[in-house]
Symmetry: C2
Subunit: 128 residues, 2 copies
């Protein structure tokens, strides 16, 4: 008998839910991406964060090009089942295609933007 | 002269962007809500997290009913300008209307769901 696992409510967002990805070790929020039902089940099955690319309309194993995959340690679901939170180990140390550890590398303030992120790799050396 | 502040790209998500809310002190991810342009500017102006309620189609000052507002310490924007991250002080200690500190109080696993969150208040005592 299968244990009962809550299925996210994919209908609310036209088949997609946002997935927040957080570094399991440091708690840093790395990125937000989207999942459809297929990528949700792939993530559960494989333990590797798998999303739906809205721009390419395709299943997207994060890091399949760069090798910087995300090993999923824990998954949480929110109170109304329409958002999930993944705690991951970020292979390669950077989640962002720009080479920053987190996609949220710019801080906004009334005085303007400021780059506060840590750059881990140079994109031109990773995406060839 | 006004300093240049990056404006999120509200067009991609039909006028809305997801906002991840993180506890500034502990790093715990508390919730995800949505902002339109109006709530974004209200948040910048007031320093109190203000969202757009998709279910009620109205501006939503988080905590206006319970008193559990979120004082914004820092705001970050992601690489493609379509998601923001707020680091906040959660007044009252709980972000979730269920009384849990975080909306992500359930952990998902192949063996089923498990409640792992910390309950801070009893909803029936806060929402009267």
């Amino acid at each position: 008998m299968e244990a009962e696992v809550t299925e996210p409510d994919f209908d609310k967002g036209q088949g997609l839910i946002p997935a927040v990805v957080q570094d399991a070790a440091t708690g840093e929020v790395l990125m937000v991406a989207y999942m459809n039902r297929l990528s949700w089940h792939k993530t559960l099955e494989t333990g590797i964060a798998t999303f739906w690319s809205r721009s390419r309309s395709t299943l997207w194993v994060k890091g399949e090009t760069s090798g910087h995959v995300q090993k999923v340690h824990d998954i949480f679901i929110d109170c109304d089942n329409d958002t999930v939170l993944l705690k991951v180990e970020q292979v390669g140390g950077a989640a962002c295609h720009t080479g920053y550890r987190s996609c949220f590398y710019r801080r906004i303030s009334r005085d303007g933007d400021e780059i506060v992120g840590v750059k881990v790799f140079r994109p031109e050396e990773v995406y060839k």
